[in-house]
């Protein structure tokens, strides 16, 4: 069983941190407007912002490591096998002949770390797109080319 590229932890961490930052700005902005109102406050000013920062920091530090820890994938003879999830552990078996088309994508953060995502599209409904994140970009492209051989012309 293969694991993801360890660098993906940093990407996730930065993403969680950025999200925390946005929420902090919103909540902080709200609290600043409250500074000028004369209402009696239940909690001291800045406590919500503090809470958001604390929870955000915890999530950003913890979740990427856990996510990474539980992510596994393997290319079997005729299936792509994925295992993931911290609270809800999910195993997915995608028969290779069911692949409709393949995408490799890379966002701005992933580009910095030279990582990529492999997106496997099937004709299914609920889990039609299976995403395999955190592959080295070259590897993702290689993987895609490898999988491409299996695309069959099965009629649906």
């Amino acid at each position: 069983m293969r694991m993801l590229d360890p660098a993906v932890r940093s990407v996730w961490m930065i993403k969680y941190a950025l999200f925390t930052l946005v929420v902090t700005l919103i909540v902080g902005g709200y609290e600043i407007t409250q500074l000028f109102s004369s209402n009696d406050r239940f909690l001291p000013v800045g406590s919500y912002t503090g809470l958001v920062i604390a929870v955000g920091a915890l999530i950003s530090l913890l979740i990427p490591f856990l996510r990474y820890k539980y992510w596994r994938y393997e290319l079997l003879d005729e299936e792509l096998y994925l295992e993931r999830g911290i609270l809800n552990r999910v195993r997915t078996v995608v028969p290779l002949r069911r692949i409709q088309h393949l995408d490799v994508s890379q966002d701005i953060l992933e580009r910095e770390f030279d990582l990529g995502k492999l997106i496997v599209h099937t004709a299914g409904t609920r889990s039609a797109d299976v995403v395999l994140p955190g592959l080295a970009y070259d590897e993702a492209e290689q993987f895609r080319d490898e999988l491409r051989n299996y695309i069959t012309e099965d009629a649906l």
């Binding site: 809800n88 552990r89 195993r91 078996v93 028969p95 099937t122 299914g124 409904t125 609920r126 009629a155």
Partner: protein, 589 residues
Amino acid sequence: MASLDDFSFPRSLHPLTLVQQFLRSLPALLILLAPTILRGSAGETRLTLTFAFMYAVVVVPLIIIRYLRFRYWIEDDEVVIHSGVFTRRKRNIPMDRIQNIEIQQPLLPRLMGMAQVRLDTAGSSSSEGQLEYVALEEAQAIRKIVREFQRAETRRKVSETVHSLSPHTPVSAADLMRGTINGTAESDAEDVQEEDEEERVLLFSMPSQRVLLMGAYRFSFLFIVLILSAVQYLQLDPEELADLLFRGPFRDAADVVAESPWLYGSMVVFTAAFLSWLTGIITTFVQYFGFHLWLDDDKLQRKHGLLTLQEGTIPLHRVQTLILRSNPLMEWRRWFRLELQTMGYDVDEQGYHVVVPFAQKDTIAELSPEIRPIQWPESFHSVSPITIRRHFIRYTVLLLIVVLPIAQFWSAAYWGLTLIPFLALFAWLHYLNHGYATDGNWLFIRRGVVRRYTFALPLDKMQVFMTSASIFQRRLGLKSLSVDTAGSRSVNYPEIVDVPEECAEVLLKELTHRFRHYFEMEEEPSKRNRLLTDAADVAAAQNTHGPLSWLHSRQRVDSSANDTVVHAEDKNGKDSAELAHPPDRHVEQ
């Protein structure tokens, strides 16, 4: 009947389309105007006039221009449609890509002898070409032309395959087998078949009494919408309405009822139930009146409707899932309804097609093998009984989330907690109605308490296999297993929730194994040797997981099996080649 030549130059729609479109735009105008007409003041009258003016200047010319701009014709191998007022659209639909031709006749066009033609192709969520409206004979002629083209195309492909059969040409075994086997079946049918309309076999039809009976088992809450919108748009005064309804002796009865809250409440519930039952009967009757289902070679055809006559075609090889539906009331009298899920192209029914709206279970069991070789299971394997506890806790938490906040303001809400025993009952019913079964190339999953679904998933249409275990499930050693199929999204999907971990794992392994095996058999018989080791692997895995005999009710892969055994154990004793092939016996177009 019109021939191909008639369609080779641009044609307009039926002229009466203008009348129909005009009539169809009237209700919108009336709804806009209704409030002001009924109780208009001076200011509102001006508004009314403005609307009417805009209508005359904008809507009516639009209808006319749209009609004038619309042209369609049939070229060598495609249907061409030019349309559009502001944005011109030129659309070419290759005939061999057309999957479904639907002819619909709503009431008014029907009276004028017109029909709507919809051309559906694969891969688009909405109808790709729509002719609104053409003469009925013309619609039928178009359908015939497209069908004949597709037949000829199929024949051509088959003969090409046969030509390429010379020993030096590299042809994959898969092509070869598919081509020859399906091809012969196809051309045999071709010789016999002259007129497709007459060759089709009637599979199922419903007399009017049956449609009424079906309605009696359904409840529709459409009447609430009707009443509310009537009150809203016509600005009726509810009290005036009540005075109008309750006069004379009814007045006294109404007063008595209004005295007691219990009587009042139960009267409301009773009336609502009665009205919804009545609406259920009416809507069902309107929708399913004169239901007919035919089998035409490799397609199902159905026709139904009282006001709007609907005709549709479902190519059998597009069928992804069979769904057997009922509710407790229906199930009590063994009534069921059969739906097919197809690759999503018919938007009207979100890819669901009702093929048998209402029939006894035996009838459906007899009829469904015409769609695919299937035998509905008599019994299902239960999931773990721990699921009762889990569902009870889940329902209770939900109830508390609703009740507790309300109770802060209105203490009577605590009475809601008396529902808790019923939640336990409901959780138990959920357990009783949830189960799965495997049989040859099929996986069956049953779920639902009030709306009951039995999904039948054929091996060759499965897409993705998944198991999942939440943090709570892991503590209890449970897992959920789901199989994804193509088709449309829906609220209810096939998933087996809360099976013991090792059962889920073995079931997953068994399914993926059978899946692989299915296609190996279809494609390359030379791979059979490899299969042997696979079969042994699975058998070994099963032995380590204990005696899971429930998995292999009929077609089990024995550790001592050679491939003949694996094949021959189909329940119907059908020959192995046929089993290994997808039941769609025809060439894909």
